[in-house]
């Protein structure tokens, strides 16, 4: 079996003491980041990328470290959801619905253990799914020419804008802003500067890391200033932790169903973990006999969204690694990491750099086990971290962001740009304009334009070439449907709001 040979290669990379050490550190940091209110997988990974880069790690090591942080943050997000009713990150929102009521009934420990096991199940199974599906998709991806890639990028923007936002126009605007920003700098084909306004600092374009850290991390500071740091709770009580075997066994099938739903939601480009946890929860509620107890502290209501969102986190890696198209905000950040490390995701990655891909997969499997150990017996440690107040945490995040970006380029101009992106992020999030499409636009803009131009070179300027293959037509149809359909389904798929006391 080819897959076992590949896995053996992967484990030979991942089981070196140093890589293993990085995986453990990454999981630990990630869980902390996920648990802190206001810090989630995307901004947590974002502020660490420049630092990982300056550490001089090689590609595999950096990738292992950052994906461990990513998985860890997905696990950690549930802690503040359950204990404080504040999702540590967006996908963990659904976990508050039953997790917080359980905590109020004095079953916080049970909820944490059940959600930890569910997270493990979802993430582990999704990693196995990634292992099986990614090489297949990579083979299909060889059939993709520039026309297909152009349609695929469009699909990512459309589904991301269509499904994950409340207002199509605002989502499309965000994508256009991102794409517009990505045009700044030298034109790849002609080598002439565009939209630089004569500013030398802009010749190289706007670094996506500057935009990511600004939009995701610096804007958070402004939100904390506005809210006076409410939400950083002090004095969370947690009794002795026991393992609620009965509840875990009872929610076994729930986890299986939620994992399947979550994984496929994650694989769809643009949909991501929030959709995974949402669908998993609503699906579980729909099939449950005791539907009324959902939202009042049903253990299965905790297991479903956690298995779903962690499975989606794994699923989102499939399109990211095979096609270079991220499935969520965080995978967009991971794509930024790959690009920083000079790794081009896509089918050739599987053929040319198998040690990177399989080393990553093997370390994800290891990371999951580490995370299960950290998140069940050691969960009390992380609960203590929740008590770090916002007025210490947010200045710290800001300073780390500044040093990270400064260490990349050593230029004050990038820092100013980062602050500008932070201000922009604050206003956009206030106005309900999603920021993830902006990041995606900056990341993919040049590739998207290049594939359009290459397609036109091949066809000699014939625009119908864009719809010349079955795959391309299918992607165009999916893109249009993904953008238009949610307008009509909005009443049906209403995002639930967090319950309040």
């Amino acid at each position: 079996m080819e897959i076992f040979a590949n896995l053996a290669l992967g484990f030979s990379v991942a089981l070196t003491p140093f890589t293993l050490f990085l995986a453990v550190v990454g999981c630990f940091l990630g869980t902390i980041i996920g648990a802190m209110p206001g810090l989630g997988p995307s901004n947590g990974v974002a502020i660490l990328i420049p630092l990982a880069f300056t550490l001089g790690l090689d590609a595999t090591a950096a990738l292992v470290l950052m994906t461990s942080v990513y998985y860890g943050a997905m696990y950690g997000g549930r802690i503040s959801s359950i204990l404080l009713n504040i999702p540590g990150d967006e996908p963990a929102l659904m976990t508050t619905l039953d997790g917080y009521p359980m905590a109020r009934q004095g079953r916080a420990g049970d909820a944490l253990v059940i959600s930890g096991v569910a997270s493990f199940f979802g993430a582990f199974m999704a990693t196995i799914g990634l292992m099986l599906l990614a090489p297949m998709l990579a083979r299909v991806a060889y059939l993709f020419g520039p026309a297909e890639y152009f349609a695929l990028y469009l699909l990512a923007f459309c589904t991301l804008g269509g499904i994950a936002s409340n207002n199509q126009a605002k989502a499309a605007l965000a994508a256009a802003i991102g794409l517009g920003i990505s045009m700044i700098g030298l034109d790849n084909t002609t080598g002439m500067p565009r939209f630089t306004g004569g500013n030398l600092h802009l010749m190289d374009g706007v670094d996506f890391l500057v935009a990511i850290v600004g939009l995701f991390a610096v804007s958070e500071v402004f939100f904390f200033i506005e809210s006076h740091g409410r939400g950083s709770a002090i004095g969370v009580k947690l009794a002795r932790i026991t393992i609620p075997v009965k509840d875990i066994v009872n929610s076994g099938w729930t986890m299986v169903r939620a994992t399947l739903i979550g994984f496929f939601a994650g694989v769809l480009p643009g949909a991501g973990a929030s959709l995974g946890s949402f669908l998993a929860y609503t699906g579980e509620k729909a099939v449950a006999k005791d539907r009324d107890s959902f939202g009042k502290g049903n253990p299965r209501g905790v297991a479903a969204p956690e298995a779903g969102n962690n499975a989606a986190a794994g699923g989102a890696l499939v399109p990211m690694l095979t096609l270079g198209v991220p499935g969520s905000g965080t995978t967009a950040v991971l794509l930024a990491l790959l690009m920083t490390l000079n790794i081009t995701p896509g089918p050739t990655l599987f053929a040319d750099r198998p040690e990177v891909v399989w080393g990553l997969i093997a370390s994800l499997l290891i990371a999951n086990i580490v995370l299960l150990v950290m998140n069940v017996p050691l969960v009390k440690l992380f609960v203590r971290i929740l008590t770090v107040p916002g007025w210490v945490l947010l200045p710290m995040v800001t300073m780390i962001s500044f040093v990270g970006i400064y260490s990349l380029s050593g230029s004050y101009f990038d820092l100013l740009l980062m602050v500008a992106f932070g201000v922009m992020g604050y206003f956009f999030r206030k106005m309900d304009i999603p920021t993830v499409p902006i990041i995606l636009g900056i990341l993919l803009g040049n590739n998207m334009e290049d594939s359009l131009r290459r397609a036109m070179v091949i066809s000699g300027g014939d625009w119908t070439f864009l719809f010349s293959s079955g795959i391309a037509i299918g992607l165009w149809v999916a893109a249009i449907a993904g953008f238009v359909a949610p307008m009509f389904l909005r009443g049906l798929l209403r995002k639930p709001q967090a319950i309040t006391d």
Partner: protein
Amino acid sequence: MRTDRIFGLAVVLGALAYIASAFQLQTSFLSDPVGSRTFPIIVGSVAAVCGLVMVVSPDPEPDWPHGRTWARLGIAVLVLVGYAYALRPWGFVLPTALAAGIISYQINPRPMAAALTGIGLSVGLYLLFKYALGLGLMALPRDFPG
């Protein structure tokens, strides 16, 4: 309502300016059928349409902060801009302590706690970056007396 209308209008104007400057782009002799203008023009047009949609059908007014909060946010932005300029000439420790302290004060207005946060973060992060991560940071200005 009003925010979306004003912002939508600004987007339309910005998009038009973007398209106009795309038309001014220099093309080189090495051109392809699409050229360097087409894609930015498409992107600008999409943005303009979205801006128009926002003007025509705005969302409900977002929940904007009030006077005092605006002032605190403004101070925070100024501090961050100042910090960006100060980081190179003044070294890491002093600007960081000041900036972290002020931001901490904006989140939770307790002077003592903010001052301690600023000093603690600046020294702690300096040690972390310098010795644990090995970044080449400068602690103090080069010509610092003493």
